[in-house]
């Protein structure tokens, strides 16, 4: 045994060294922020406060009782850190960029700076961590009692030791002092604590060295060979027990979540983080630390089982083994290791919690009831410091009270797990907050509250075994005999042990409510804005984000707040930019900057509430927000839109190209037409000019010759006139240029009139016109005169081009099929070659041989007229010989 005084002296000396380290650390950090204290090594060592006295003493106890199971507590974090790229990286970056002060601050800031959410998480953490702190006090007290037990450590460890609450009280008091002096000593209430981190890193080294020293000592002094060591190995090492799989998976999940969500872990991993390099190194160094500290757990447990009398408390093997086998110095080192692990855990936990309590409970209440001193100087800042110190004392003594009341009978590990299960309830909100834009603060509150209540009901209250709030009967049979409400078998789910059962129900309901309640209502604009800032943290940030929230505040009032909370030094750096004429109204940038700095001190929710007091108007630009909100979606939508637009543009371009082609074609047609017209006009003009010149110059011509030439001039003039008439007709026929008087009439009358008109021409050419079959009472809609013109055209063509020896033209009319009237003009002339049957309807087309007289416009004009009346004009071949033209017009029956 060691003398109590000696042990106390060692402890105090050790604490003094730690204090020196912390003090030097703070000074160094102020001089050189990027120095050793921000090194990845120190960062990783600080994260190892995960290994509290629960690890130091409890792992061995658990290994002795349950074999492998203790490993799950370290495998979960190993997976999480090895997979830092997936989640931790984002979490840490968001925390660093937004100067998060705690997990409560993180979640409350993410969900629209909700004060309720911050307070809820703070209360949850406080309740859940109390047994954990009690656990540390118990371990410290027990280890102190064992190491100083007059009858020797073995005796102490093998009999039920009544906790010495006097020792526990002084330890608690010492821890309070320690935490206050280290953590909240600074006037600078900043989110980072360099000094404490330095001390914690030293403690991390001490506990690792101490534990490994014990392990090596056990191995070389007691066990010597593996065979000897594993002589009495528990069966569970070789074969899985019932329920092993579920518990193993559940514990891995639990520990993986805990290494993120525990307030102290969040503090050291996220809040104290200053660069990505730190987390990158921690991704392998922290698993390595865990591996090393666990390497000797089983050897120590086995040695304890082999060498200590039955009934010895396995939770204290680390201490009792060396003490009873002549390793007093190793024992003292083990005690120091345990002391380190417990104190570092309590210090960081209480600092983290005090920040949460002061920022999320004290400040909001003080602001609500105007309790924050408004006087000048340091009063407001002192108020915050006092609030934090009080919170530390409160937290630690809550743990002490729990220890005192419950006399913590459970083994260290089981208490730790109960605490873990409560503390990881923020996990769903944390994950949703980092990945799901739609998550709302209502959803987070609902999920957290439900998870918390289920945890309390199924795990926390039953852990008192009927001593607190919940009776033993309720624990065994459910309230009011309702067995489906049995705390250890909700809805009859009794396949799991209580821990897995509680974890399953609390996480399931928590997540489900978070999702469902979030989907019920749209997030508020501020929540949406914060979601964008958090979720899109790796998106390159643009200045335009400042444009979302537009606020107005007087610079003087804003400065007053900054002076009070941040202190004059920082305030000067924020406000005095050397402007000649200081602005009266603060810019959005300045307000945001001040709020950010305040948030780093008192949390986002309180900072917002502080700033809101001097802000006279605030609008969150919904448009800006929409622009920002899910820029990724926007980009996706935008590119989809672009795609559809470009498709549209392509289609339009194709249409345009088509239209252009058509226009060009029409243009070409127009040019051709003009060129043809000019040619057609020039031809008679040429003759006219030439012959008139001949007549003028050759007065000696004989009379008959003169008359012949004059005749040519006359006929060419007529041709010219017909040509111009035809062109005019064509123009009139263009759609929409002219309306004719349209009547319903008998088309046979048009035929009769046309034949009458052509009779002289036919007689001159010796052609017989035969009137064939005629329809009775046929009625068509159109212009009789125009239709007559068409028939004159057809009949005169048939007369002119008929080279037959016995030329004749037959015209018939009949009501044809499908409600059409059909008139046919048939001749017995040479006929029209198949290839020309459509060409003859194009303008200025004339048969090769038939050049005289015609201008080549008659058929195109005729076709256009007939088409205008809804019919058609086509050329077929006569049954025997010659050409046949068919005019079809729709019949009218009214």
């Amino acid at each position: 045994m060691h003398q109590a005084n000696f042990v106390v002296f060692v402890c105090i000396t050790y604490v003094a060294i730690l204090f020196a380290v912390a003090f030097a650390g703070d000074r160094r950090a102020r001089k050189n922020p990027a120095g050793l204290l921000s090194s990845p090594l120190v960062y990783t060592l600080s994260i190892s406060i995960y290994c509290s006295s629960w690890t130091f003493f409890g792992s061995v106890g658990s290994a002795a009782k349950n074999g492998l199971e203790f490993l799950t507590i370290y495998l979960g974090p190993t997976i999480v850190f090895a997979g830092w790229w997936l989640f931790l990286r984002k979490l840490v970056t968001v925390g660093r960029v937004h100067h998060t002060t705690s997990i409560a601050d993180f979640i409350s800031a993410r969900f629209g700076k909700s004060p309720v959410l911050g307070a809820l998480i703070t209360i949850l953490a406080l309740v859940a961590i109390t047994p954990y702190i009690a656990l540390q006090l118990k371990a410290l007290t027990a280890s102190f009692q064992v190491i100083t037990y007059p009858a020797g450590a073995v005796v102490a460890a093998s009999r039920p030791l009544e906790p010495d609450f006097a020792v526990a009280f002084w330890l608690a008091a010492g821890l309070c002092l320690f935490s206050i002096v280290f953590g909240v000593r600074n006037i600078d209430v900043n989110e980072r604590h360099h000094g404490v981190i330095a001390a914690i890193a030293v403690e991390a080294l001490v506990k690792l060295v101490a534990f490994m020293a014990v392990g090596l000592w056990v191995f070389f002094v007691l066990s010597r060979t593996p065979d000897l060591m594993f002589r009495n190995a528990p069966a569970s090492l070789m074969s899985p027990e019932e329920g092993f799989a579920a518990r193993w998976v559940a514990l891995c999940f639990l520990s993986g979540a805990a290494v993120i969500c525990l307030p102290r872990q969040f503090q050291v991993t996220v809040v104290e983080n200053s660069s990505e390099e730190q987390i990158r190194t921690a991704s392998w160094m922290f698993p390595l630390y865990l591996l090393l500290i666990n390497l000797f757990v089983i050897p120590i447990a086995m040695a304890g089982l082999n060498n200590l009398p039955p009934g010895s408390d396995p939770d204290l093997f680390v201490l009792t083994l060396p003490m009873t086998n002549g390793g007093e110095t190793v024992g003292l080192l083990a005690f120091l290791g345990g002391f380190s692990s417990a104190t570092s855990m309590v210090i960081v936990s209480s600092i983290a919690l005090s920040t949460m309590i002061s920022n999320h409970i004290v400040m909001p209440l003080a602001l609500r009831f105007s309790l924050v001193p408004t006087g000048g100087g340091q009063s407001a800042r002192n108020f915050i410091l006092v609030a934090r110190r009080m919170s530390i004392v409160f937290t630690i003594f809550l743990g002490f009270t729990y220890f005192w009341i419950s006399r913590t009978s459970g083994a260290l590990a089981s208490i730790g797990l109960i605490s873990f299960c409560g503390l990881i309830q923020p996990l769903p909100s944390l994950i949703a907050g980092l990945y799901w834009h739609r998550a709302t603060h209502r959803g987070a509150i609902a999920g957290l509250a439900a998870g918390f209540l289920i945890w309390a009901y199924t795990l926390f209250l039953p852990s008192f075994k009927g001593a607190f709030l919940m009776s033993a009967d309720v624990i065994a049979n459910g309230p009011f005999g309702l067995n489906w409400l049995n705390p250890h078998a909700l809805f009859g789910l009794d396949a799991f042990d209580p821990l897995v059962h509680a974890l399953f129900w609390s996480m399931t309901v928590n997540t489900a409510l978070l999702v469902i309640v979030s989907l019920l209502r749209e997030p508020t604009p501020l929540t949406r804005f914060q979601a964008t800032l958090f979720i899109d943290i790796f998106r390159r940030q643009t200045e335009s984000e400042l444009g979302v929230i537009r606020r107005t505040a007087r610079v003087s009032e804003l400065r007053q707040i900054a002076d009070r909370i941040l202190g004059p030094v920082e305030s000067v750096s924020l406000f005095d930019k050397g402007d000649v004429e200081p602005a009266v109204i603060a810019s959005d940038e300045l307000i945001t900057l001040v709020e950010t700095r305040l948030a780093a001190n008192v949390g986002a929710a309180s900072a917002r509430s502080l700033v809101s007091r001097v802000v006279t108007s605030e609008t969150i630009s919904v448009d800006e927000l929409k622009r920002l909100a899910g820029e990724a979606e926007q980009i996706r939508a935008y590119s989809a839109e672009l795609e559809s637009k470009s498709r549209q543009i392509e289609a339009t371009a194709a249409e345009l190209a088509e239209a252009n082609d058509r226009l060009r074609e029409i243009d070409v047609q127009k040019d051709e037409f003009l060129s043809q017209v000019s040619h057609e006009v020039r031809t008679p003009m040429t003759s006219i000019r030439s012959f008139s010149e001949i007549l003028l110059k050759n007065r000696d011509l004989d009379e008959s010759r003169k008359l012949h030439f004059l005749g040519i001039i006359q006929s060419e003039s007529f041709r010219l006139t017909r040509l111009l008439d035809g062109i005019l007709d064509l123009n009139f026929l263009e759609p929409g240029t002219q309306t004719w008087e349209v009547t319903v009439f008998d088309p046979e009358t048009a035929i009769d009139q046309a034949i009458e008109t052509c009779e002289p021409l036919a007689r001159a050419a010796g052609v017989r016109i035969k009137r064939g079959r005629r329809s009775r009472n046929a009625r068509v809609l159109g212009s009789r005169d125009r239709l007559t013109q068409v028939f004159i055209n057809l009949v005169s063509n048939a007369i002119k081009h008929n080279t037959s020896a016995n030329p004749e033209v037959v015209v018939t009319g009949a009501a044809g099929r499908k409600g059409f009237y059909e008139a046919r003009v048939t001749d017995n002339g040479p006929g029209i070659p198949l290839k020309d049957r459509e060409l003859i309807f194009t303008k200025f087309f004339r048969g090769q041989k038939a050049r005289q007289g015609g201008v080549g416009l008659g058929l195109p004009i005729s076709r256009q007229i007939v088409e205008r009346f809804g019919g058609d004009l086509s050329c077929t071949s006569a049954k025997t010989k010659g050409a046949e033209f068919v005019v079809r017009l729709p019949l009218r029956f009214d």
Binding site: L68, L71, L75, T78, I79, V80, F81, A82, G83, W84, W85, L86, T93, R96, V97, T225, P226, D227, M229, F230, A233, L237, M238, S239, P240, F244, A245, W248, V249, C252, S274, S275, E276, E277, R280, T281, S283, W284, P287, L288, L291, L295, I298, I537, F538, R539, R540, Q541
Partner: protein, 90 residues
């Protein structure tokens, strides 16, 4: 530049795969294969397996961290070259 990007993609893929592989190796049912009444040099097989995998993961994470570090340097070099800063670099 392209090779650097391919490396970066490979590193990211590996970083995603590592925790999945770790979870697979550490959790039942795969773990059950090694919880057997067998000893290697007197040490239960499962202990050798768990600590062996653990060490392998630490080693892989270390390799990955080195590649990430090089990537980050490359990225910040590229960003410096472009005269811009990456978010979250202080």
């Amino acid at each position: 530049m392209r090779r650097w990007e391919a490396d970066a993609q490979g590193t990211r893929d590996a970083a995603t795969l590592l925790p999945v592989a770790a979870a697979f190796l550490f959790l039942p049912p795969f773990l059950f294969v090694f919880i057997a009444p067998a000893r290697v040099a007197g040490i239960p097989l499962v202990l050798i397996y768990v600590f062996g995998v653990w060490a392998a993961i630490v080693f892989s994470a270390w390799l990955l961290a080195r590649r990430h570090a090089r990537m980050a340097e490359g990225a910040s070099d590229a960003a410096d070259a472009a005269g811009q800063r990456l978010p979250g670099q202080h």
